[in-house]
């Protein structure tokens, strides 16, 4: 659990980078600019979003009927997980589902709302550049994967080899 929490904190840095790029705009425009993507890309994203929503809503069922039995079988010990009403019990630990779900949806809802909310009777200002004429040459999304591309295949193969080894063990 601690490893997942800490790993999640590190991973969230990457999400920030991507989300930062998605909502970035200059002081000269105040409206979101929509891009059309091919159906093969948008279709994949819609399926992913659908699966995430279904997984979150079906968490009580998934935890008790799927994850707990698999974990119990893998670890060869009982995993005390139960659901009662809107709570999940992991041993003696109680996790209230509704506040967690609300919190989970708050971030995307706020960001989407930020795209469409417009303030009236306000003046617009350009970004502060400390009196200098600065050419904006970097952004939050500045890492390049070009150098790492040749290693993608090897990493993928290693990942599946690791999966097979773990499964065999």
């Amino acid at each position: 659990m601690i490893a997942v929490a800490c790993g999640g904190a590190i991973l969230s840095l990457l999400y920030f980078k991507v989300m930062g790029l998605m909502i970035a705009r200059t002081g000269e425009t105040d409206k979101p600019k929509f891009e059309k993507t091919g159906s093969i890309f948008s279709g994949t994203i819609y399926v992913l979003i659908g699966l995430i929503i279904l997984s979150v809503l079906g968490l009580p069922w998934l935890v008790t009927e799927y994850f707990a039995p698999v974990a119990a079988e893998s670890l060869d010990m009982s995993v005390p997980v139960a659901t009662e009403g809107w709570n999940i019990y992991l041993g003696t630990m109680r996790l209230p589902l509704v506040p967690l779900l609300v919190a989970f949806f708050l971030l995307p809802v706020t960001i989407i709302a930020a795209m469409f909310i417009r303030f009236k009777n306000v003046d617009r200002a350009k970004e502060y550049m400390c009196g200098e004429k600065v050419n904006y040459t970097f952004s939050s999304f500045y890492f390049s994967t070009e150098k790492a591309t040749p290693y993608f295949y090897a990493t993928g193969v290693l990942f599946f080899v690791a999966l097979i080894i773990v499964a065999l063990i």
Partner: protein, 279 residues
């Protein structure tokens, strides 16, 4: 009814309490530097001055995210004071920080971007420690409910001294105090993510800082269990410790901050957790 009266009052008055703490902090810091300093109510005078300023924004999404940072932080504080789930509180607090980071990224300002990057690194520095502390509290009390921790007979400090030290080490990062004030570092990034806010919209970010004080000192108070006097003592000690540290240290860079936080504070919290598990 009475059980909720004090928490609800604290929630409603949290910005005022936070403002007074900030005002007192400025007085104490000034005295430490042998200056007279501003009056106690200076933060509120600033508040009124900002309210009267011309409303200027870079773009609406940026201004909206700043306001939502304040709202979500107040909400997180509300859940904490009402005795909610500690994991949820930490998550909601992270959410409010995420919104101000995204606000920083949403503009094409170099200082704002650098500040957002540094704030994200700060989250990486203190968040794992907070999670370990929450798990340690669970190992002792058997619950993540803050309400149960407030009523715990024996102060948690006695069983979690290392975790308390770890909390003391990460609080300067959270409250952007020297030597870990890299996120706003005025001389380097002129306030970081706060830079592009002004007037009424800066007011939200400014007041959120006051709420952060109340949030952090409430976390400190948790270590006293139901011993209110000890809780007040811990809060007062932490207040003077933070200000003495802020006044007497120079800023480190973000790599040093991260190395120190994950190397020292995280290790201390983790050792405390292991001791709690073994005992």
């Amino acid at each position: 009814m009475n059980d909720y009266l004090i928490p609800v009052l604290l929630i409603v008055l949290a910005p005022v309490i936070g403002g007074l703490v900030y005002g007192f902090e400025r007085v104490v810091k000034a005295r430490m530097q042998r200056r007279i300093g501003p009056p106690l109510l200076q933060p509120f005078y600033d508040f009124l001055k900002l309210a009267d300023k011309r409303k200027m924004i870079v773009h609406s999404a940026h201004a909206f995210l700043g306001i939502m940072h304040f709202v979500s932080l107040w909400f997180a504080l509300g859940v904490l004071l009402l005795g909610g789930d500690l994991i949820l509180v930490i998550f909601l607090h992270l959410l409010s920080t995420a919104l101000i980071i995204l606000a920083g990224y949403s503009t094409r300002s170099v200082f704002s971007h650098l500040g957002a990057n540094r704030t994200a690194i700060s989250v990486l520095a203190y968040e794992p420690v907070l999670i370990i502390i929450a798990v340690s509290i669970f190992m002792i009390t058997g619950t993540f409910e803050v309400g149960a921790v407030y009523l715990w007979d024996e102060p948690l400090l006695y069983k979690m001294p290392l975790a308390f030290v770890a909390l003391l080490l990460i609080l300067p990062i959270k409250l952007k105090k020297s030597p870990f004030d890299v996120a706003e570092a005025h001389q380097e990034v002129t306030g970081g993510v706060e830079l592009e806010f002004s007037g009424l919209f800066y007011e939200a970010v400014y007041t959120a800082k006051w709420l952060d004080y109340v949030f952090c000192y409430t976390l400190v108070f948790l270590f006293a269990g139901n011993n209110i006097l000890l809780g007040i003592g811990l809060v007062v000690f932490t207040f003077f410790y933070l200000n003495a540290l802020d006044n007497s240290t120079a800023r480190v860079n973000y790599k040093q901050m991260l190395r120190f936080s994950l190397g020292v504070a995280f290790s201390l919290a983790f050792i405390n957790l292991l001791i709690n598990i073994l005992s």
